[in-house]
Every structure is written in C-alpha cells, then in structure tokens.
Amino acid sequence: MEIVEKAKMPVVAPLDQSVMARIRRIPTAYIALWVIALICVVALLSFMGFSLCQYSFDQTSSDFLAGPSGQHWMGTDELGRDLFSRIVYGARLSIAIGLTTAAVAFVIGTLYGALSGYLGGKVDTFMMRGVDIAYSLPDLLVMILIGVLLGRGTIGILIALGLVSWMGTARLVRAQFLQLKNEEFIEAARAQGQSGWNIVFKHLLPNALGPIIVALTFTVPSAILSESTLSFIGLGLSPPACSWGTLASDGWRSLRAHPHLIFFPSLFIFITVLSFNFLGDGLRDALDPRTRLGKKSR
C-alpha cells in the first residue's frame, strides 16, 4: 500500500508562479489545460443562455436518427433532436457534477484530514479507522447503495458522489499534516504562541495545498466517470435529465443500427476525463521538485 500512496502523493512543494511555467513545458498537460478551459467555457456559456448551436437541445424535427452531416454535425437521435446541441447541453451537467464533487471533496476531506492529522494520537486512529474501511469498498457499490436511498435525481447523485469522494482527500491531507507538523517552521509558529487554528490554516494547509490540488484534479474525472457509468447502467440520472452519461446510455440501445449516438457522447466523456488525468499528472510532475523537466533524468 505504501507505494500506492507514494505514487499518489507528490513531494511537498509550495504552489507558485513557476508551476504554470512548468506545466507549459509538459505538452500533454498544457494541451489538456486548454481543452478543459474550452469545454468549461462552452458549458458556462450554455448555462448562461448563450446558445452555440443552431438548434435547442430539446428541439425535435422530422429528421430522425440521421447520421452526421453538414446540417447536424453529429447526427440526430430517435426524436430528431440534434446530437451536438444535446452534447453541449449535457456538458454543463457533466462538468458541474465533476467540479461540485471536487469542491465537496476539498471541503470535507480537508477539514476531516486536517483535524485527524493535526490532533494525532487516539483521535487520529479512531477517525481514520472508519475511513480506511469505507475507502476499501468499491466506490460504485457504495454509490449505488446510497443512490437507492436518495433517488436518481441530480442532487441524489451529487450527494452520493460527495459522500464517497472526500475520503481519498482526507487520507492525503492527514498524511501531509502528519509529515509537516514536525517541521521546524511549525515549531517556530508554536513557539510564537500562535493558535491551533492559525497553525492549521495559515501554516500547515498552504504548505499541503500542492498535493491536495493534484488529488482534486483526479477527483473531477473520476466523478464524471462514475456519473456516466451509473447513468449508463440505469442507476444514475434518467431522462429528461441530460448528461453525457444519459446520452451514451440512450445511444447504447441503438448501437447496432446507429453507432453515432453512442460514439459522440463517449468521445466527449473520454476527451474530458483524459484531459483532467493528463493535467493531474502534469501538475504532479510540476509540483515535484525531484523531476527536472526538459532534462533527461538518467
């Protein structure tokens, strides 16, 4: 297990301007950053009501199940709705779910992990034991069970995702705090008589922020994957809700005759998840002082 944690946990380095410069030197991460920015802007514009497409997402037409053409870039579904418009519309839900989950994981995970790591001792053992057991269960299993209770709406999915996603962050923050709290600068802060609150939020947390951000970058794609997988097997969002997962699920039923209906939503899930993963890898390398980018390490 130790190695797994190490693979996920970069050596601590403060976040500063040089991170952006370092990202720029990792082509995959830099391209990924722009792709993510583009998708987020499109989702945001669609959310604010600026339509980028000539069709509305729920506008039906007599052009049923058409393949990709000049008029309908990605074809139409069984009600003649333009698939490209639906994918743009679905982006807001998929992206929102990913980002919200990361935000929840950040708040709950950081607070829990910080408390556990800062207090240490018996409290720490007690707080982490439960997390360890829950963490070893498959996320999807837990989410499906919670989903049984909360129903299949967007809020239900968000709560289910939030409940499973903070544990990884909590473990990471705790490990960082345990490692940092014996450093000399914390001792100095203590000697100055600073409050525990100050030490946690002004000294420990900023220094642990790099690895936390890396972990959150990986939380977004896994949330998007989980949502689409749940929706795909029919235990997530269901129509009329429209996310990339529900679109792929719709497309699955007509795989044989109209493969474009599953191809395009899948492609967007894939590109988005891939971009976040590349960005996460890049951030980790950029924040790790051991890797010297641009030079061969051997």
Partner: protein, 306 residues
C-alpha cells in the same frame, strides 16, 4: 501465520455485521417496496405477500429476523425471481463472476506489469512516454465505451465473437478484455512508480557496477523487489474488478453477481441486494487478508512486528 488468519476472521465478523446492518437500514428506509412495480396486484394480495415475507412487521423486528437467518447462513429469498432463494441465485452467479474476474485479473497482470516495468526502466524516453500514454488512456476510457467499441467491431462488424451471454469459451473473450482494461492501466502506473523507487537503491548500483547487464539487473534485482507492492494491491484490484463487473456484466448480459446486484437494486429486491453486498464485502476481506499474508511471506522485515 495461523494466528493472523484467526485474528482476521474474528475481525471480519463485526465488519460484516456493520455492512449488513447499514445496507439493511439503507434499503428499508427507502419509500417503495418490492411489490410496487406490479401495479395491477390487488391490495389484499400485496398485503399477503408482505405478510409472507414478514415485510408487514416493524423494521427492528425485521432486522432481528434477518440477523437470525443470516447467522444460519440463510440469505433469504428473492422477491422477484419466484421460488429462488438468494443462496440459490448466488451459487449460480458467483462462479460466473469469479471466472470472469480471475481471467481479467490475469490478463491485467500480464499486460500491466511488463508495461509499467518497461516504462520505468526507460524513464523519460520514448518507451516511457508511450507506455504512460497508454495507461492514462486505460484509466480514462469508461468501461462501457470499451465494451461498446469491442462489441461494435468484433461482434457486429467482423462477426467473429458473440455479442453477449455466457456460454462457450468464445463468450469470455470480449468481457474479459473489457474488464482487464482499467486494472491493467492501474497496475502499469503502480509498477512504474514501484520500479522507479527501487532503481534508486544502492544495491541496484552495486549490481550494475559489478558488471551485471541492465536487463539482468532489472529481472533479477529490481523486478523481484518491486513486485512486493504490486502483489499487495490485490485489495484495491478486487475493488476495481467488482466495480468493472457491474458494467461488463450489464452490457454483455452475463448472469453474474454484478448483474444480479444491479437488477436487485432496480427491483428493490431487499434480500438479494443484501446478499450480493455481503458477498462483495467477504471477497474484499479475503483479498485484504491475503495481502497481509503475502506481505509477511514476501517481505521478511514485516514479520518482526507480529
């Protein structure tokens, strides 16, 4: 070692009890019962059905009844699959999922470990970039996309393999490959990290400086030592395979645990949900116990602690 196994079994009982209780509470407080879907049943019949399965009793009493049966190894009856006990269903479904899971895991190890080792040995070079690109692809593609693509290419267009179901060995190929994808990618990343850690060790430099060739050093010294953490991720790997099996068994219509779990959740088939969840929990506990044992076996330094 024997003491450790006994200790683990004793520890597993409260964990399973907690899992059973939480799942029980979770499914019972949900509005809607197992017979809701049959809209045209007269209320008297629903009442009779509820009485037969003790669903009319207060929840705490149902809970005690359930635990009583559980202690005797009786997981209850399915409300949807008529005349079938949960034990029955699981006895049929478990071997299917076990076969699928084992084949996929083997495949994942055969692909993932060499890929990660090559990436680490060639760190920073073309091979590393390609291997890591592939493994990032592997963790970024949802299982249903891999499944749909494989079905479309090999079953629908080329017609060389069956679309689904679980009959001949040919039926195993596509589901196993689909399920192997993400554990293989996970293993590749892990092996790479682990090998990189070992490469920096002093005794690796010693081996090289006494004149051992690079590949011999890798095979005899590095790989052997870096496999310890790889063997010990069986726990997380089992979790990944269980997660994957939900999707894979759904799209290939395989009558395994994952598929029964999903349909049970959709049908609110209480006992079947509880039964499958418990089997998954037992599987994870066994995997993690095996990991602890393997640790002691592979790394003598770990034995001193006990």
């Amino acid at each position: 070692m024997f003491a450790l196994i006994v200790k683990r079994i004793l520890l597993a009982i409260p964990v399973l009890l907690v899992v059973a209780s939480l799942t029980f509470v979770l499914v019972r407080i949900v509005p809607g019962g197992p017979f809701d879907a049959d809209k045209n049943l007269p209320p008297e019949i629903i009442a009779n059905l509820n009485a037969k399965y003790h669903l009319d009793k207060p929840v705490p009493e149902q809970y005690l009844l359930y635990l009583g049966r559980l202690a005797q190894g009786d997981l209850g009856v399915s409300y949807k699959y008529v005349n079938r006990t949960v034990n029955d269903i699981l006895a049929d479904a478990f071997p299917v999922s076990l076969q699928l899971g084992t084949i996929s895991l083997t495949l994942a190890v055969l692909i993932g470990v060499p890929l990660g080792a090559i990436a680490a040995v060639c760190r920073g070079r073309k091979e590393d970039v390609i291997a890591m690109f592939l493994s990032t692809l592997g963790i970024s593609v949802p299982g249903f996309v891999i499944g749909a693509t494989l079905i479309f290419v090999f079953a629908i267009k080329l017609r060389v393999l069956p679309v689904g179901l679980w009959e001949s060995p040919w039926h195993v190929v596509l589901p196993a490959v689909t399920l192997a994808f993400s554990p293989a990618a996970y293993l590749a990343r892990l092996t790479r990290a682990s090998v990189l850690e070992i490469v920096e060790k002093d005794w690796v430099r010693t081996a090289r400086s006494k004149g051992l060739s690079q590949w011999n050093t890798v095979l005899k010294h590095i790989l052997r030592n870096s496999l310890i953490p790889v063997v010990t991720v069986l726990g997380p790997l089992t979790a990944i395979v269980i997660t994957g099996s939900f999707v894979v068994e759904y799209i290939y219509a395989i009558p395994g645990m994952g598929r029964f779990f999903i349909t049970a959740v959709m049908n609110r088939d209480y006992d079947l949900i509880l039964g499958t969840t418990l089997v998954f929990a037992v599987l994870l506990i066994i995997a993690n116990t095996f990991v602890d044992l393997a640790y002691q076996f592979l790394d003598p330094r770990m034995r001193i602690e006990d």
